[in-house]
Symmetry: C2
């Protein structure tokens, strides 16, 4: 089992290097195998598909962002916490920014295994959401609201990444600016949302959102539960 692990890592490193240099679509599985000093089939022995290489990168990159210790100093304001999180995330992604063009589009297709909404990426997604959840934890929101806000932040972060992928301004400063603009706009709303006057509106939002995120209802809710395949 030692040999495989080593080769696997070597293939992945080779692939990512080529992806970064030439782009995802432009890099051939045959290129990767050749560059790694292997036959085509060997590459497929370690990675079931070209997408799997992309997914492995996605996963590793997520781990990198997680590696930053996400312990927020007590008293650090929400705006600062979110700012740090978003900007750091951009910096982590930056070296592989061109790869985003290959990954992002697939996020929109729930049937795609690479998608941000697919079952296959459920754990990576959960970990990503957890990062945002940690950032808002000190706010002590009621659990449903908190879960909702964390998801919303994660979704916003996906949008930011789409923008980032195509941002050709030097240093992608436009994206960083956008992050600051959005946070400056949204963060004050959190304080506002906690006033009693806003309570009904907040409730309305939470209700609508949880409705939308609920899985499809079965036609017959009564009767004994039977495990059936979700075709």
């Amino acid at each position: 089992m030692k040999k495989a692990e080593l080769t696997r890592q070597h293939v992945l490193d080779t692939a990512l290097a080529l992806f970064r240099k030439r782009g995802f679509e432009e890099t051939t599985m045959r290129d990767i195998a050749r560059a790694a000093g292997l036959a085509l089939g060997a590459a497929y022995y370690h990675f079931p598909s070209k997408d799997a290489l992309l997914f492995a990168f996605y996963d590793a990159n997520q781990s990198a962002t997680e590696a930053r210790t996400r312990v927020y100093p007590t008293g650090e304001p929400l705006r600062a916490r979110l700012g740090r999180l978003f900007h750091d995330r951009l910096h982590d992604v930056a070296p592989n920014r061109t790869l985003l063009g290959a990954i992002i589009p697939r996020h929109a297709n729930p049937a795609d295994p690479v998608s941000a909404f697919s079952a296959e990426s459920a754990d990576v997604r959960a970990r990503a959401i957890a990062l945002f959840d940690a950032a808002i934890a000190p706010e002590d929101l009621p659990p449903p609201t908190r879960a909702l806000v964390a998801r919303a932040l994660w979704a916003a972060h996906l949008g930011i990444l789409i923008y980032f992928a195509d941002d050709r301004s030097p240093g992608q400063r436009k994206t960083h600016r956008l992050v600051d603009d959005v946070l400056d706009l949204v963060t004050p709303l959190v304080a506002l949302a906690r006033t009693p006057a806003a309570a009904p509106l907040v409730a309305q939002v939470v209700r609508a959102a949880s409705r939308a995120m609920q899985p499809d209802r079965r036609s017959g809710p009564r009767g004994p539960r039977s495990r059936s395949r979700a075709g």
Copy 2:
């Protein structure tokens, strides 16, 4: 020139029928050619790529939505106008809902010719935005705000379509419910945004948005303008 037009339409019809029945990825260009009674190369004579077939559909579908007369009765409230527009759009798309899974993901990649952000689809996009612009026209917003709101609605509509594509609830009622929920939440904000108290906030939003949508600034803004390729 008559023959070609006829064959072209025949190929397109055949292709769309197959796409609807079997899905986009699952349908082969060879399938299409065979079903249309042509050789493979002939299909490529009329459509430069498989994507071109998708794009032709995209365009035709947009025209279908436009065909509904978008003359809003005077006095019809904003909420009703938008509701009609969104729900009607969903109904127009519904017969080809499965095709969305093929189109939507590519919308996120600006480098993709099919993308909603690409130069190639600029006119279709402009026409789509115009639909939303017409719906908010009676509100008499200041032009920059109006343009922004129209674009925002269009973007929201893209998001709704993503949700729609994966909505397996009967009749996709979940998506229709989501549309209503979102409109119920957002429409009142428009009225709110027009109060003098909200003016600074609105200005802030408009400023941030136009910054984000501005094309990349050249490094040297001075000196004579020279047309240079945007590599």
